[in-house]
Structure formats: C-alpha cells, structure tokens
Amino acid sequence: MSKALVMDSYLLADAKTVLAQAKAGDPAGFEALYRAFETPVYNLCRRICRTAEDAEDVLQETFLEICRSIGQYREDGSLWGWIRTIAASKALMRLRRNKYRDTDELNDEVVGHRREDTHLRMDLEAALERLSETSRAVVWLHDVEGYTHEEIAAMMGKTPSFSKSQLARAHARLRRWLGEEVAA
C-alpha cells in the first residue's frame, strides 16, 4: 500500500461515507474532511510558506477548493494525494504571488561563507526556516512528501533540472548550517 493510501486510512477511517456526504453537498461531510486533513495540510503549507499567516490563508483556500471541487475527485487514487496536491499548488502560488527576495542565496553568493556559520550549529527547524522559500519547498516536496522532480517542476512551472539543482543546493546549505561539515 502506498504511503498516501496509508495516510487515507489513518486520517479518515470512514472515508467512503464522508465522501458520499460531501459529494451530496452535506456540510457535515465537508467538515469531516476538514477535521481529518487540517493538520497535514497546514503542516505542508507551513513548511512551504514563509509565515504562519500565509500558511493559514492557504489552508483556508485549500479547503474552499476541496468544497468546490469534491465532485471532480474520482476516488481512483488516494484522497490524501488529491488534497495534498491542491494544498501544494496553492502554497506554491502564494510564494509566486508574494515574490519574496531570496536574501539567503544572495548573501551566500556575494559575501561567501559567514564566519559565524562555521561556529554556529543550528537545529534542523531553524536551518530549514533559513532556506529560501524555493529551496525549502523543493526539499519538503521531494524528501518528505515524496514528489518526483518532474511533478515538482510541473507544479512550479520549472524544469526537473531546476528542481534537482535546488535540492542539491538546499542540502549543501543544510549540511553547513547543521555543522555537519567534516573537518579537513
């Protein structure tokens, strides 16, 4: 069983009943979907978006889209997979809309390694937060959510090569900030 299908049965034991309710327009069905998938959707959004406020907005937009489009869900794949793709697309759209400057990448390229980096060991949360939004999105979508580079490229409107290079750069930075560099 794929990870996404495992998530389905873990998060929503009576998925068939809830889906039938939601497709019939019953508000109880929609709310049951929200309660079941609120946390994983928010977690995905928060890992991609820069702020908690953005992530909560994307959470709301995601479930609005689910309410509107539930009739289009064909039940031939994972429900979580379908919901997750809506959430990821909405989160990436938010990034494009905000167009934050990737100051971390700019500083690394212009200034080079900062002295304090060699003495500073961040924890993983801080290091992840410090990545540029694009790099963090690629790392999270690929390494945690299991999307392929082709799928990530399609969602981002980029090439698979772009996704691969972003992933490698992200891991190079995480390695440095986590203090994992092997002493020469």
Partner: protein
C-alpha cells in the same frame, strides 16, 4: 582525490539510472568520506521526515464554511434567476399547447412562480447584510448555520424533483419552494435581529 558533489549524492538516491550514476556508485563503494556524506544525507532526510507536525493557531473551519455558504448562495441566486425564467417559459409553452386541448390549471404554476420570486428576493435581502463578513455570537451563528443547512437540503430535494412522478412534480416543487421561502424568511430575521442589536 575528487569526491562526489552534493548533486551527485542526491542523484544517487533517485530511482532508476541517470547518466553518470554507475561511475558515482563505483566511487562511493571505494570512498569512506563519500559514504559518510551519503549516510549523513540519509540521516538528514530521516530527521526532516521526523519533524513534528505544525498545527494552525486557530480553527479556520468557520471561515471556510461561511465563504463556501456565501458562494453557494450566489450560485443559488443565479440558479433561481435562470429557473424562474425557465419556469415562466415552460408555463407559456404549456399554456400554448394545452390551450388547444383543455383549460390550463392556472393556480399551481402561478403560485410556483410567486414562491420562486419571493425566494429570490429574500436571497437578495440576505446578501445585503454580507453575512459571511459579520461576526456572530455562538448561538446566532448556530441558528444561522442550521437554517443554511436546511436550505441546502431543500435545494437538493428540488434538484431531485426531476425524478418524481410527473403528476406529483408540480405539487412537490411548490411545497419545497414554499419551505425554502419559510427558511429564508427565518434567516433574514436572524440577520436583521443581529443587525438591529448592534445598531445597524
């Protein structure tokens, strides 16, 4: 000795065989430093997957529900407008056809049109209060939500009247539209009462 780059290490984790993978794997097998880096990459990814789930600071379901209800209301208004026109047209057609054979039962279609028009007017009145953007106390919100849910149930039954026995269809439709008008009337009262309580 040239070690594997992060790009090469990351590529080694991909399924399938990419150009240069075989050479990279051969190097990995013979290089302790690169194997250490590869293990660290695996561990880093495992730690990413083990990060605790983040949760929203507050419940966003009420906003989702309110916005979706607002969209559905707007769609129903459009549907009511279209259905009203269609009903008027079908009455005209039926009148045209039946007048050739027997007198038209005028009471039911006219009452149906009247109920639909009243429903449309009440929807417009509710929209003027912009209910989705207002903060309601818990009790009022519950009452409003129950009325909305019952209106949605009536709408579903209205959509299913196509399946009803033709002889009973108009009577059933009239009954449902009247029920809809009653529920919308109550919903207007809820919002009107709340608006007047806060001096609006």
């Amino acid at each position: 000795m040239t070690h594997l780059s992060m790009e090469q290490l990351v590529a080694l984790r991909e399924p399938g065989v990419e150009p240069g993978t075989q050479a990279a794997r051969a190097h990995l097998d013979g290089c302790d430093a690169c194997r250490t880096e590869f293990d660290r990459l695996h561990q880093r990814i495992a730690r990413l997957r083990a990060l605790p789930s983040l949760r929203p600071t507050r419940d966003r379901w009420p906003e989702v529900r309110a916005r979706f209800a607002s969209e559905r209301r707007a769609r129903r208004l459009r549907w009511v407008a279209v259905a009203g026109l269609a009903a008027a047209a079908s009455v005209a057609i039926v009148a045209g056809v039946r007048s050739m054979h027997r007198p038209l039962p005028a009471a039911v279609p006219a009452e149906l049109s009247e109920a639909m028009a009243r429903s449309q007017a009440l929807e417009a009145a509710i929209d003027q209060y912009h209910p989705e953007s207002r903060v309601l106390d818990g009790r009022t919100a519950r009452i409003a939500q129950e009325l909305e849910d019952r209106i949605a149930a009536v709408d579903r039954e209205l959509q299913n009247t196509d399946l009803a026995d033709p002889g009973r269809r108009q009577t059933q439709e009239l009954q449902l539209w009247r029920e809809r008008v009653g529920l919308l009337d109550a919903l207007v009262d809820v919002h009107l009462t709340r608006a007047s309580n806060v001096g609006l």
